[in-house]
Symmetry: C2
């Protein structure tokens, strides 16, 4: 089996993040990725069947790391369920209020671009987004149980909170400021808060 811990593999992924998070998938040529990664073409094709296969692996790798980082926050017993979720959203606001760079923005940046063009990449993004929503949903349940999140909250609110933050991130990129993210923070507080928080 080809080791994914191999330095060349990691350098190609890192170059991909750096370029694709800013330019999108189609704007970035393979030669540009190889140049930034500083690896020969043969190394690329040793790991990836095609640029599309590389895109799929990039998305899978991104979510693998992202979901692990969410887990460590959402399993933090020192915080209430409400605090864990609001810390997560505050972190989202902090990350998205600066220009795109490596290791962020992949659903924001690629969601609309690739969904009409590549089935493997679309499916990888769909699976990743569903994973994030499932974790938000579980954390809402923690907050409902510890009394910090409104017990009448509806099932679809995990979806809607994720959609809200995704849309606010797109508009923050358009406006080049963090105002949409601050609106999303206020709205998240309103949606989640039980009366004991207010």
């Amino acid at each position: 089996m080809k080791s994914k811990s191999n330095e060349n593999y990691q350098q190609i992924l890192a170059a991909g993040y750096q370029l694709i998070a800013v330019k999108g998938f189609n704007y970035v040529g393979l030669s540009e990725i190889l140049k930034v990664a500083n690896v020969p073409k043969g190394s690329f094709y040793y790991y990836f069947k095609s640029k599309e296969h590389f895109g799929e692996e990039l998305i899978t790798d991104y979510f693998s790391e992202y979901l692990t980082s969410i887990d460590s926050l959402f399993n933090n017993d020192k915080m209430t369920g409400y605090e864990r979720l609001m810390t997560y959203f505050q972190g989202w606001a902090n990350t998205q209020s600066t220009p795109c760079n490596e290791k962020k923005c992949l659903v924001v940046k690629l969601g609309a671009e690739v969904s009409d063009l590549s089935e493997p990449m679309r499916i990888a993004l769909e699976k990743g987004a569903a994973g994030v929503i499932a974790k938000i949903s579980q954390c809402i349940q923690v907050g409902v149980k510890d009394g910090t999140i409104d017990p009448d909250i509806q099932d679809q609110m995990a979806d809607s909170l994720y959609h809200l933050w995704l849309g606010a991130s797109v508009v923050a990129k358009l406006q080049k400021n963090e105002a949409p993210l601050l609106s999303a923070l206020s709205t998240s507080t309103l949606i989640l808060s039980s009366k004991t928080n207010l």
Copy 2:
């Protein structure tokens, strides 16, 4: 002044909508637009300085028409403020639950793609999105006045409703189904409803 009612101009814009709403901006070559529009290159450069200038005009034309259609709904005195907004969102759900085609999806499709790449196109999208949010905000005030929208609704909710629908539209494209849009409908109902609607 170059007439925008000219048939060639309209054919070029129509071809642009049709191609760019599916493929995104960068994927579509000028030659493809000319072929679908069935006009010679000279006609394109008579109206547009560059492909970027064309993209900017396309976005401006899209919002001009879109905002006019919102006006005719939001000024309909036969409906309450709440009914006008929910009709608008129901229409959004209907439009986005089918694959992208002409005359829709431009913020969903192009927001993330062009914001890092073209200042004129980014500004045109930013201006258009701000126009839609302003109209949602005015319609919320109509509903608050006629007693059909929660009078305690916060100022940022017009932004958040737009962001929610934008994000839900991106995820609906990823999932290839309308579930995210149905979630957004339920959440919009909850956010807007005054107790008299429930």
